[in-house]
Each structure stands twice: as C-alpha cells, then as structure tokens.
Symmetry: C2
Subunit: 344 residues, 2 copies
C-alpha cells in the first residue's frame, strides 16, 4: 500500500493575465501515499531538480487552441525535471532509475510516461541537474535550432539574444565551435562578462544600457548578421531585421520579452524580409527528439573534456520555485534556472 508522507506542492492559483507574480502561485502541504495505482502503467517519482523555462509563462495563461496546454488552476504546476523512480508499473522504467521529463512541482509525483515525456538517464558522471539544461530540453533546443534550422556555415556572423540563458549560452558555444563570429546580448554586466570570459563569445553587450539597438548591432556587425537566434522578440527583433545580411536566416526559438505583455509589441521592420531575402522560421524542440541520442553522443564527451561549459543558477528548495520562475522574466537568473527539490 505504501507509506503516506507529506508532499509539498507549488500550486497555480489562477490563470495569469499580464505580468506573472509569485503570489499567482502558492505552496500547499499535502500528503501522498508512496505507491503506484494498481492496473496502471504509472510511475511514482521522487523529484530532485525542477526546470524553470520561459515556455511555462504561456501555460499559465488561459490559452485557447495553443501549442501547449494551459496549466490547471488549483493544481500543481507541471514542467521538466530530474527524478528518481520509486515505483514503476511501466516496463520501460525500473525502481531506482534516474529519469528526466515531465513531472510536477512537488516532492513526489505520479506520472504516466508517453512518447518523449520521460527519458531514462544513462550517464550519471555529469551533474544530474544538467538533464534540465544542457543534457535535456534546452540543450536539444540549442542543437536543433542552430544546426537544423539556421543552416550555419563556418565564418558566418551569428547573433544570439538572451545569450546567457539556458539555450543561448549553448548556441554561442556551438557557433564558436563551427568557426562563426558570435555576438550575444544579455541584461547585466555580469552576464556580458560571462558571455565573453566563459562562453567564448567574440563580443557581448548589455541591451539595457544601449540607447539604440540598431546602432549597437551596426557596431558589432558592420557587414551585417548572417544568423539570428531569436529568444526575445519585440524591439530586438526589429533592430535585428535592419541589420540582417542578404539571405540571412532567423531561427525563432522564443520571444521572452513578450510573454508577460497583455498586448504584444508590434514589429515594424518586416519589409526587410523582402529587401534582404531573409528566411525566418519558428521551431519547437519536440519535433527534434529523434536527434536526442545523436546529440548526447556529441555533447557528453565535450562536457567531460571541458570544451563546452554550462552555467546554472540553482535555487534551493521547492519553496524557492515560484520566485525562481518569476525571476526568469526579469532576467534575474544567471544561466539556466534550476530548482533543487532534493539532491537524492
């Protein structure tokens, strides 16, 4: 039957309009019986690390006909995380396995694995939290978005926004590995320093301190931008459009600057798509999971050799999760935002 234990949860109180705040969520003390329902193929997970990701903001809204489902008010938030399997009625997973995938913002979760919703962790000689970042969804996002969507070539000029984030820091390093000239934007001096000193970006700037982003981009890209890896949208996209090269490519990964706005900003320079024959393509990582084994094979040796680095911003305890998630949208995190629920 399983022992009954306490199970703290982070609940979404209601659908959010406009700017998400910590008080849109609440901690709730519940209990859970540590067993898997019989006649199910569910798993009982003990959650270790939870991932704070920008796409979670749209899920907090009351979405109609969207690419993601809205969270259910009064229920725990769901998201990606790393967990240990305590019980399993799914023959693909065994008690004791470490996994990453969709779980709940709580200490223990009962989940049912569907295609690509849960991955067994085979290599444990890396920080486990990496499976919320470089070895998980953000890593594959950077890999697929850069190599598959941008068609990059050695020597091209690459601009990455939100460049110190979970995805951006990897895109920059991938572009450097390929021999591109890479510039990143971020929102603080600390992040800009990180981009240059740790992630080997050629140049970086703090967009909050620039008077005019068009002028800024012209300074770093006097001959224009071949590839823009779009994470932010809004004014930055408008400035980038003015600075793309002919036949430039924009891969649209995210638009974090817009997620908290009730009315999104208008983008005014789309005529540049014609004058510069730009192609702009949106993508979602879920369409690239078939590349995940190949990606791991490439990236794990690079991590172990110290050739690719990854910076995480680790918040301690489930209690800190609402604040960590809200912080993403003001750029409070430095690197990939992770929440530790338990270290084992």
């Amino acid at each position: 039957m399983g022992e009954e234990v306490s199970n703290k949860q982070v609940i979404l109180k209601h659908h959010v309009v406009g700017c998400v705040k910590e008080c849109d969520m609440e901690l709730k003390n519940t209990t859970i019986r540590l067993s898997v329902p019989e006649d199910s193929n569910a798993l009982l997970l003990k959650n270790l690390y939870l991932s704070c990701d920008p796409y979670m903001r749209p899920r907090m809204s009351n979405l109609v006909d969207s690419y993601v489902e809205s969270f259910t008010p009064s229920s725990p938030i769901t998201g990606l995380g790393v967990a240990k399997v305590l019980e399993s009625c799914d023959s693909n997973f065994q008690k004791g396995d470490l996994v990453w995938g969709m779980t709940g913002w709580e200490e223990y979760s009962i989940v049912t694995a569907t295609q690509n919703s849960l991955f067994k962790i085979h290599d444990k000689n890396v920080p486990l939290s990496y499976y919320t970042g470089i070895l998980g969804m953000p890593g594959l996002t950077a890999y697929a978005g850069f190599y598959e969507v941008c068609s990059p070539k050695k020597g091209e000029t690459v601009f990455v926004s939100a460049a110190s984030g979970a995805v951006g820091q990897l895109v920059g390093q991938f572009a450097k590995m390929l021999g591109c000239y890479v510039v990143g934007s971020a929102g603080s001096k600390e992040k800009v320093d990180l981009l240059k000193s740790k992630f080997s970006f050629d140049e970086a700037f703090n967009y909050r301190e620039e008077q005019d982003l068009d002028t800024t981009l012209k300074r770093y890209f006097p001959d224009g931008i071949d590839i823009y890896f779009e994470n932010v949208g809004g004014k930055m996209l408008d400035a980038v459009l003015l600075n793309m090269k002919v036949h430039g490519r924009i891969s649209v990964c995210g638009m974090i600057s817009q997620y908290n706005l009730e009315q999104t900003e208008g983008v005014h320079n789309l005529f540049c798509l014609i004058t510069k024959r730009i192609s702009m393509e949106g993508f979602i990582v879920t369409e690239y999971f078939h590349l995940y084994p190949k990606y791991l094979e490439m990236i794990i040796p690079q991590i172990k050799a110290g050739k690719i680095v990854y910076v995480e911003d680790v918040a301690e305890g489930l209690e800190s999760a609402p604040s960590a998630l809200v912080g993403l949208f003001s750029g409070r995190n430095v690197g990939k935002q992770v929440v530790v629920v338990s270290r084992e």
Copy 2:
C-alpha cells in the same frame, strides 16, 4: 545625327514622404534627338507600354542602403516597359526589335542594357502589353514566388492577398492548376467577382467589408492555411499568422499596405511562427531570372490555350501615368496596371 522630336516625360518632382500624390510628379515637354550616342553601347527606345508596380513607391522615397535605388528628383521616373528599338549600338539588339525591361517614363529613352535589364521579345502572338505583366516581371514573380518559395503541394490550402493584382491573379491560377484550395482577398466587389468568375479562385472576399479578418479567415480556412502569398503586410499578415497551419509557409512578395505610411504598422502575432513552426521567406524576382525561359515555355501555351487568363487595367497616354501609379496604392486598378504610351 537623327531628327529632333518632342519627348514628353513624367518627372518625379521630389522625394516623397508618406502618401504619394499625383502632384509629386509632373509632365514635362522636352525634346530628344533620335540617335544613339556614338562610342556607346546604348539603345534608343520608343516606349509603347509602361508598367505601374508597387515596388516603385519605395523608390520614390529617399532611401538609404536599400535593395532598390531611389529615383532621382527632377528626372523622369524609370520602370519596366515594352518598347521598340529605334537604334542600337548593342550587338544583342537590332533596330526594329521589340523589347521589355527598364526604361523611362517618357516617349523615347536612351538606355544601356545590363544583365537582365532588357529582354528581347520573341513571341509577338500575344498582347504586347503582357510583357509588363504575365510575360514579364510580375509573371515571373508569381511563378518563382509560388513554386520556388512556397513549396506547394496538391491539396494544400492557399491564401493570396491583393489577389486580383498583377501577381496575385497568377498565383491563384497556378495554385488551382496544382490542385490547391485557393482563397483571395481584394478591395472591391468587382475584384472579388473577378477572382471567382475569371481566375477560378474557390473563394474570395472584400477585405474592406470584413469586421475582423481573423474571423473571416477562419470562415474560409476552418482547418487553417498551408500557404500564404503575402502581398500586403500589416493587419492582414497579423490575421493570417493566427490562421496558419502547423508547418505553414509564407512567401513574402510585397507589403503594399505599408508603402505609403511614414511609420509602418506593427505586426503583433509573430509568436505564431513558433507555435505553428511557420517559415516565412522574403524574395525578389531578380534572383530568379534564370527561370524566365522555362517560365515562358510553360506559360505561353497556357495563355494561347486560354487556360491561364490575365486582366489588365490599361490607362491611355503618358499623361495618365501619374494617376495610374498613385491609384495602385488605393487599389483603384482592376488587374495589372499598364499605361499605353503608343501602340506601335
């Protein structure tokens, strides 16, 4: 030495800001000597038909670093046209040849042919004015923009804006030939009728009479749009983004709704690029001139067999050219806008 004759011209008085008006241009009576400068490789052309095209509006502005050159104030407007060669110092062209390409808005022009600036007309068993439209730049634009940029497949749903225009009417017919479901938008009942009765669009609507373009598009595309052939920009693009299918394609040919605005409208729904994994690509016909012979080979038999039709709006006399050009931007023309300077 050549006879000296009168040569009426349409002059751009000054660079234009905002809405172009007839009074931004003026008729000027000049004279020209009917000879080609010695030691040149120039041609003397007698202009027959002149083409009014949307891309001419950007050229009337004072452009910096653009894909087209600004017109020179106090000089004749230049544009595409059909002409007869009166004298030639260019071995590629003979006296008596009919040609289409870049010429001046005047009765006679001295031009120097550069690559793809002037094409000899071989097939004269079609209306000569067609070389400003279906057999010229707009025709190749529709062909390349639809077949090369949109990657269309039989059975897909296609939406064309400015659908009765020089390019749109052809895109719709090409899409029907391929077995697509095609809907067009235009700005009058007359044009909507034309789309359905003459160009065989499945459906058409007058965008000026619709309260909410999103609702309109949902009515015609309950399952979404696979391909949008973009000619107008602004609000229409915003509504289309909401109605694209997953993996939809937008080929960006023009944005005529924006050309007369001092500040372009903002487009708010670009986040749909991600949620629907849309690719959006701008193109310019000049990169597809290598396909022109193949296009002619396909299209001329279709015209002669009556399988593809083409509607022109013919203005009589060079004097009518300023009004005809200005009329493009309010949609006064029905079909391809041509100006007859002389019929032979």
